[in-house]
């Protein structure tokens, strides 16, 4: 059974810079939608990939989009940078994104991110306005439905967000 709480704890405990994005960020902002994976944004330099391997070493991480579920411990080769990582581990699915559609890379996201205390550690979470922007950029029906909830959360919390595109 995936445990996103334990998975996040692994990243939070390590010396690794990331911003929580996606559905789990929505949960932290107050969304009721359930997500079964953890999405984070991080700089995917060869050095950081090495750090990710250390973090996930005991969790049997594999590239879940490859036919043979190649081990993350072996691929990519050392000194190789990648755009994104789509991993499955013994404790859950985690996508590590170098770039978030509609927003940009880790340096862009971290500027507006908020800090939250989780499990005794400080974690960075994409801001609510940025999360709305990202979900609207993806634009799938399910994302646009979640956006309506996120916009309602912003309204209740008094957080300013630009109006939806095309609204009068």
């Amino acid at each position: 059974m995936p445990n996103l709480q334990k998975l996040l704890q692994k990243f939070a405990e390590a010396d690794f810079d990331f911003v929580i994005v996606g559905g789990f960020a929505g949960v932290l902002h107050g969304s009721s939608y359930v997500t079964d994976d953890l999405d984070i944004c991080a700089a995917l330099s060869p050095e950081n990939i090495g750090t990710l391997r250390s973090i996930l070493r005991d969790a049997n991480p594999v590239h879940r989009m490859t036919a043979d579920k190649l081990s993350f411990m072996d691929y990519p080769a050392p000194s190789t940078a990648v755009a994104n990582l789509y991993l499955e581990t013994d404790i859950g699915v985690v996508d590590v994104l170098g770039n978030v559609l509609g927003l940009g890379d880790y340096n862009r996201l971290v500027k507006n991110s908020i800090e939250v205390q989780l499990g005794g550690h400080v974690c960075r979470v994409v801001s609510l306005p940025d999360l709305i922007t990202a979900k609207e950029a993806v634009g799938r029906e399910k994302d646009l439905l979640v956006v309506k909830e996120l916009r309602a959360i912003a309204a209740k919390r008094g957080i300013d967000v630009p109006p939806p595109a095309g609204s009068a």
Partner: protein, 69 residues
């Protein structure tokens, strides 16, 4: 056109889409830790129900009335 979305419009759109605004109030009353714990409980339940559904579907395939015995 306003630079920022009016709160009332955002709430109405959410309500019209069938979103339960009272659930938002409940979630916002929780700490970040509590939101994560609540979500993990919901995820556990969802996956348990999914597995039960799959098991039920499998057993239904071999049910006597289907086998014809």
């Amino acid at each position: 056109m306003p630079l920022m979305e009016p709160a009332a419009e955002a709430l109405k759109r959410a309500q019209d889409a069938g979103i339960d605004l009272s659930l938002i109030d409940c979630n916002l009353a929780l700490s970040y830790e509590e939101r994560v714990q609540r979500h993990q409980s919901a995820l556990d339940l969802m996956l348990t129900l999914r597995e039960a559904g799959i098991a039920h579907a499998e057993s239904a395939k071999t049910a006597p009335e289907i086998r014809g015995s």
